[in-house]
Amino acid sequence: MAGWSQLPKDLLLLIAQRLNTRFDLLSLRSVCSSWHAFIPYSLHPLPSRFPILPTNGTSWGLYLSRRRILLLRLPESHCQSTTSSWLIKVEEDVPDMAHLVNPLSTFQFRHFPPNFQKKFAFSRFRVLELGQEYVLQYMNHRPSGEADEGSLHKGKVTFSCTSNGDDFVMLTIHVTGKLAMFRHGNKKLTLIDDMTSPCDDLIFFNGEFYAVDNTGRTVVVAIGSPPVLSLVADSVSGGNKKSLVESNGELLMVDTYFDRVIHSIMERAVQFKVFKLDQIRRVWVEIENLGDRILFLGEKSTFSAVASEFCGCAGNCIYYTNSFFFPCGQEDDAYTGIGIFNLENGNMDPLSSFPDYAKVIWPPPAWVYTDNIGGV
């Protein structure tokens, strides 16, 4: 009786087409000899870091870094404790070398626990890709006089490319609050003037770019010459900063209310409201309860998770960061600036008050580097 390892190549590929993440495809490739032969390795021809400007192939200039936000979990049979997940953000700069970054900020973890095996096989775990983050950085050389591009790396970046990487589009928020677009082959950014208020956030969702301005007014940006904006939702009244996040296949908006911290110029988040998109009536509708979901508002990216997969805690909360005014100095400050907002009772607490939830982020759980699971 033939078994799954004898599945013909074209049928295996039909199944593989329905897998969305690189890790699922790698897992499939690692199952048995025939599957390994049938599924191609260069699944993402794009390196994690690739040049934006200049375009004439120098080793310096403006680069786009891609980071993946992943939830690592023990396979079912090995679950013994509640902290059986690890939330990480990984940047794979060159093949086989990776950096770990705080999932909610840009802080790079450099000091690993003493027993941590710097080389470890992630095929031992269940890997769920929760999102991607793009950051613009200067590599090796920062040209003077390039004021336009130099101010880019403060804003949020979203990105889309064809599957073989030969064409891409990058959308970002310019320092002036305008939307800026960069297409493969361009020499510089194109500013888009049509947003009436400064842009707060961007997201690439369901194959399209969405942008929200400071009032909550949301548009879809159709890439073209010139780019065309179409209204998707009207403004909402209330908070100070809008963020877009995908949750369970839907587009949500989070409105953050800030309060000025007394005797300083700093701001502190005091409340969040969550909205769901009503595409037909073109409005944002407030939702009171996230159910089993958790939303994460990081500095450069947003993502969501199912609470029971994340840490066994209750859902209906938002992890957020104000880390721009709580600089992270050392590993002990891995949690500094990260807070949890509970939608049910409106409580806001720093992550460090919940050691069980904090452990999901740092330090790496023991089961990650104690090799008692073994095998490929």
Partner: protein, 152 residues
């Protein structure tokens, strides 16, 4: 009325309108065997029965008059129940759907298998589908390297 015969000798009668859902059979009907029993040598009786069950249900839903039509939601629910099968049967069904060229069934089965794979480690996938790890030591090394991070 068309009659199909499975690899183990079981026969199944089906209306022409159902039989044409199996494109391979449709082609055979057009080419020759319209009046006699059509052999299906690659597919066992119990699997062929399942395939026919699926086709009958899906043909019914598209052919029915408005008042008796099954809603999309109900059909989806029926499909979800239909695929609650052990992995060995799933495998046989995929091979049969491919041989008999039934696109919607093949799509449903491939999606089902993909959903079983998502987020799982290679070892878990092997357990679910009862696959042996048959890598040579050299292949194992390569796999390890592909599935590895070296942190700075």
């Amino acid at each position: 009325m068309i009659t199909l015969r499975s690899s183990d000798g079981e026969t199944f009668d089906l209306d022409e309108v159902v039989a044409v859902e199996l494109l391979t059979i449709k082609n055979m009907m057009e080419d020759c065997c319209a009046d006699s029993v059509i052999p299906v040598p690659n597919v066992e009786g119990k699997i062929l029965a399942k395939v026919i069950e699926y086709c009958k249900k899906h043909v019914k839903s598209t052919a029915m008059a408005e008042e008796h039509a099954i809603s999309d939601a109900d059909l989806k629910a029926w499909d979800s129940d239909f695929i609650k099968l052990d992995q060995a049967t799933l495998f046989d069904l995929i091979m049969a759907a491919n041989y008999l060229d039934i696109k919607s069934l093949l799509d449903l089965l491939c999606q089902t298998v993909a959903d079983m794979i998502k987020g799982k480690s290679p070892e878990e996938i092997r357990k679910i589908f009862n696959i042996k790890n048959d890598f040579t030591p050299e292949e194992e090394k390569e796999i390890r390297r592909e599935n590895q991070w070296a942190f700075e």
